[in-house]
Symmetry: C2
Subunit: 330 residues, 2 copies
DNA sequence: CTGAAAGCGCTTACAG
DNA sequence: CTGAAAGCGCTTACAG
């Protein structure tokens, strides 16, 4: 059943059926009702791909995430999704599993016009390529960003929030403070490391190289790096960890080493995922407005798609240090 | 830049360019190389929507999940994704957030030919509608299923695994065993309740109605229902909980009530999500092969899409009771 | 091995 | 307010 069949049954042209569906105000009430009756009777559904082809827009956007099983990204994704759906857009999910190759391959969807725009929640891809791409297609970065790139971006200020997290430990009296970073290939890791260093220096604390350990973003990896830190001649008494999942790994390692958190070791995480309040001790962490970041990113993408002017390109969302039991005790 | 432009530059017809892209073996080596040179030089990318329109297939499949922020569904989704990508299919994500309306609206993507097939990880939708749909379109159910529906389905045997979980508590000597169910509108909840009852009856244990409490699938909801159970005149000493996230809520409630797990209260969860080994005490639970369920579901969907015969329609995957600290102690 | 031509199902500028 | 007609960019059956 196609549009011309419906048209015949309703004694109108296909053009009129099309108008009833897309611009009903252009059709007289009488005709409109007659056409709608037929549409309902035969349960006609327009062939969306034909429409996409004709209008040259798919009403689909692509979201590229580094890890869909991460609670953090799932929440950001949901924010995107909400705004997308409300505006008639479907969301294609591109899970790269932290693989640059796969990130690159998703970009083909844009080049092949299979999606109208793209939100990147990971940006390992080459900077120049990204720059070119954003000149040609609607593209928004969220959470991650690329330094000096003139692309709309939504994130928190990772440097200042990492500084805040570290200063919280300093204010509690800690001086031997370690930092477990994410992969150095990710700019967020470098930013949070920078914030950590800034806090240490501005409080005249020495930055001990062996106190800085790189991990990938998993529980297990942070667990192992923590064991390493705890076996140092002078182990740290406080650790700022790249994210909450890793912070849980750190605390587990402390417990397995016979230490009590926060008494023997204070731990600060990042993101404020749901588990942060379920895990014991509850995590002191930096709250990121995950849902709001997703919403804002999608709103910016819609602006780009609709060709609306964009005065501001960088949006810094508000984060918040949330103090819980992993640093302050019960 | 479109195909005919490439054709001109290479001194061939558009048909030949098309063949180079889709059936290179039908083009002479010489011509093929000449065309590929041009394609690379101008960085031509075919307009996929035009191809979709022409071939009447989109190479996109839809996965409908009840909750994308759930660790369980994210893992199943990843299994689907792996098989999809390997076979040249993109995945559109349909997150219903447990809303039947939204489940229904995703079905339009199928009716409008915007996707080639669909995997449902939730099935609240009307049974007859589903039956009709599956006669017309490639459709696979995974995790959830609908009783008496002749649609390819991948899941574990929820009744027997729930029985196993309950019997584990019985074997530990518990007689006052409660069950916190998921929403009764979900068949999995009814199945697991059935398994619980079977275990109780076959061991001559009374089924105490107040020991059965319904919760939605969240941590908080199970937390509250557990408080209710613990305030009974004769509180249970063991609880089988619908899923792991809820089991964590149950344990939290027990702790907050001054009880020790497993000594005062033994708890069994379901799914074996990653957090089950991070949370303390580690959860005794039923392991579901999440990734494999996703893979199998997508393989079945591919069979349907390709019109291959399917001898068997119901696939029951192997589950496993995993005993950890939440029932047996250290 | 290659090309000319038809056609997939819509939408929209144009004419009346 | 309505219709006839063109055309979006591919693929493929057919002919040579």
């Amino acid at each position: 059943m196609k549009m011309s069949d419906v048209a015949k049954l309703a004694n109108v042209s296909a053009a009129t059926v099309s108008r009833v569906l897309s611009n009903p105000e252009k059709v007289s009430l009488e005709t409109r009702e007659r056409v709608l009756d037929v549409i309902n009777k035969v349960n006609y559904k327009p062939h969306i791909v034909a429409r996409q082809f004709r209008t040259q827009e798919t009403k689909i956007i692509l979201v590229v995430v580094p890890d869909i099983t991460s609670a953090f990204f799932a929440k950001v994704l949901r924010g995107i999704e909400h705004v997308a759906l409300k505006n008639g857009y479907q969301v294609i999910l591109g899970d790269t599993e932290n693989d640059v190759e796969r990130e690159n391959s998703y970009i083909d969807l844009l080049l092949q016009k299979q999606v109208d725009g793209m939100v990147l929640l990971t940006a390992k891809i080459d900077k120049n390529k990204l720059e070119e791409l954003s000149n040609e297609f609607p593209l928004v970065l969220a959470c991650e960003y690329v330094d000096g790139l003139n692309v709309p971006t939504v994130s928190i200020d990772n440097i200042s929030s990492a500084r805040k997290a570290t200063e919280h430990l300093i204010q509690l009296g800690h001086t031997k403070i370690a930092h477990i970073t994410g992969p150095m290939s990710v700019i967020l890791s470098r930013d949070r490391l920078k914030g950590y260093k800034q806090a240490m220096i501005s409080h005249d604390l020495e930055i001990e190289p062996s106190y800085i350990q790189e991990a990938d973003r998993t529980f297990e990896s942070s667990y192992n790096q923590t064991l390493k830190l705890l076996s140092l001649a002078t182990p740290p008494t406080g650790i700022f960890v790249f994210n909450d999942e890793m912070a849980m790994g750190t605390i587990k390692a402390a417990k397995d080493s016979g230490l009590t958190v926060p008494d023997d070791l204070a731990v600060v995480g990042f993101d404020n995922i749901k588990m942060a309040t379920v895990f014991e001790p509850n995590l002191t962490t930096i709250d990121q407005p995950k849902f709001a970041i997703g919403q804002k990113a999608m709103e910016l993408l819609l602006q780009l798609i609709n060709g609306e002017p964009m005065k501001k390109k960088k949006f810094v969302m508000k984060d918040e240090l949330i103090i819980r039991d992993s640093t302050k005790g019960e």
